[in-house]
């Protein structure tokens, strides 16, 4: 029993990170219809930045992460304006190819700026609590809490603010939103800024919990899409539920079935869901 709870707890922290990544993906996909594959590499960029801010500039971890999130938002704005907007009205495949190209560019940029070695963000949160035989690492708890806070902020933003209303309008029906006077360009920019900021936070948290290295971003993006498919493309509650389920199932599978095929779980989940319930657990389309 202890083992099961321990595995579940380990998995929750990773699941929280997956949720953040998935949220960034789902807002862009649900509202703008773009499979923003470069999201993983953007997250890594944020992670590297957080490392630079905390390790070289000496900022405390959360301040570094916050600053990196701002930088990430700016990067998101640039990506929308320069890369995706020109192909907004072209066939969908073009947007996807752009996403692939952006992935390469961002990975390459990360290599140039930060080198090829793995990067681990050191934090002062090294405590371990022992509760009934289960080891609870302080850092993992903080990751889960941070994710909750960020999710709450985004939820409030979308449901209570005027910008949020415009976003929801565009998500429902772009043509109608334009007719109602919503500035679609502005909405696109805001959505990308939010998405990238969330991605950066995920990158920072992964950097503190595990490590950031070339290639990690791609894996995160794919798992993010797996969560999207599991939870339902475009659904925010779906992203939350999906992320946690994926994180915990990975830990369980690695712990009780086989550690060798741990990563394969995400993909199998994706394939199975697509076969039997393509709209996802909480999706509507």
């Amino acid at each position: 029993m202890t083992e099961i709870l321990q595995q579940a707890l380990n998995g929750l922290a990773i699941g929280a990170v997956y949720t953040l990544i998935a949220l960034g993906l789902t807002v862009v996909f649900g509202i703008l219809g773009i499979a923003h594959f470069a999201h993983g590499s953007v997250a890594m960029f944020g992670g590297y930045l957080t490392f630079v801010f905390s390790d070289r500039w000496g900022l405390p971890f959360f301040a570094a992460m916050g600053l990196a999130m701002l930088a990430g938002a700016v990067l998101g704005l640039l990506i929308e304006r320069l890369a995706y907007r020109p192909v907004r009205d072209a066939p969908h495949i073009n947007a996807f190819i752009i996403a692939l190209g952006l992935t390469m560019m961002t990975e390459g940029m990360n290599l140039l700026l930060f080198g090829a070695d793995q990067v681990v963000i050191q934090t002062p949160y090294r405590g371990v609590f022992n509760v009934a035989g289960i080891a609870i690492a302080e850092l993992r708890v903080l990751v889960i809490l941070t994710a909750c806070v960020l999710i709450g902020v985004i939820a409030l933003l979308i449901s209570r603010t005027k910008t949020g209303k415009s976003i929801r309008a565009v998500a429902q029906n772009r043509q109608a939103a334009v007719l109602m006077g919503v500035n679609v360009n502005r909405v696109s920019l805001v959505v990308f800024a939010i998405s990238s900021a969330l991605g950066v936070s995920a990158g920072a948290l992964i950097g503190a919990l595990l490590a950031i290295a070339p290639g990690v971003g791609e894996g995160l993006a794919v798992k993010g899409f797996a969560v999207l498919i599991l939870g339902g493309l475009g659904s925010i509650p779906g992203a939350i539920v999906g992320g946690l389920i994926l994180g915990v199932s990975e830990a369980m599978a690695a712990g009780f079935i086989s550690s060798a095929y741990k990563d394969v779980i995400a993909f199998l989940v994706m394939i199975v869901v697509l076969l039997f319930r393509p709209e996802g657990l909480l999706g509507k389309r």
Partner: protein
Amino acid sequence: MNPKILSSIGLAALLVGAFALPQLVTVPYFMHLIILALIWVILAQGQNLIQGFVGYVSIAQAGFMGIGAYFSTLLSVKLGWSVWTTLWLTPLFTTLVSVLVGYPSLRVKGHYFAIVTLAYNMVIFTILLTYSSVTGGEAGISNVPRPPELSVWGWVVNFEGKSNTAYYILVLLSALLATGICAIILHSRVGRVLVAIRQNESLAEAMGVSTWRYKLFAFVVSAGLAGFAGALYAHYIGFLNPEPFGVDQSLNAILAVILGGSGTLAGPVVGAFAVTFLPEYLRIADSYRLVTYGFILVVATIFLPRGLVPVAQDLLTRAKALLGKNK
């Protein structure tokens, strides 16, 4: 001169040049790259079928290449079968596997499809890496054999040895075969349906076309070509491990088709050579290579969405028109 005759002569000259190449190229390193590029042509033609003709971006091509490579290698190394046998069995096996992959993937469209194929590639890669009792894992399988000697009209063709000329001819013929297969498909009724699906899938469905079957056909043929390329690759290099069959290579295949020109026959050839030779010449540093590739991809999609070959064709047409005027 009749333009058709002109282009036929041009094509013939190109073919003669291609067959004579080993005599002209003295540096083994270039032959090595050319052989790799030709193997890539086969891969790219396959990718073009599903991406260029049908309009579905598949990110699993490298995975199928890996399946083909390992299938042929394991049969020849562990069971001692002749490479000539395994070479033609490989595309058949790969197509079988691809039906398993294609079936769920083709139920969804556009982005979903691409992501699912990506997932499949990662699954294939992970299995190849982890199932090391069979595949040798990361350490790989050494001593992958070359095809055994052939007797062609009294001549003995040997595939071992340093010069690789015989293998070059084999790969050249294979690349021509692959291009030929795609040409036949393109100019047939099937090809027209595929293009119709790309242009407007809903319309095609409304016209009563069972689009699913055609999509699966294109997917399966492209996988078969990839598997074949994989086998040729393994028997050439002599050593096999999962490294070349990851998602990065699938992205390279996509890049090759985009750069060269989606939906054309010459496009994948140009793209394959570009993708093989560019990294060798851009050996500045890996980091610059990625940024450059990505930048090219983004810029090409925004400004040159049809790729280099159609652009070149356009320029050629315009040049001809100008020359025509001056006459």
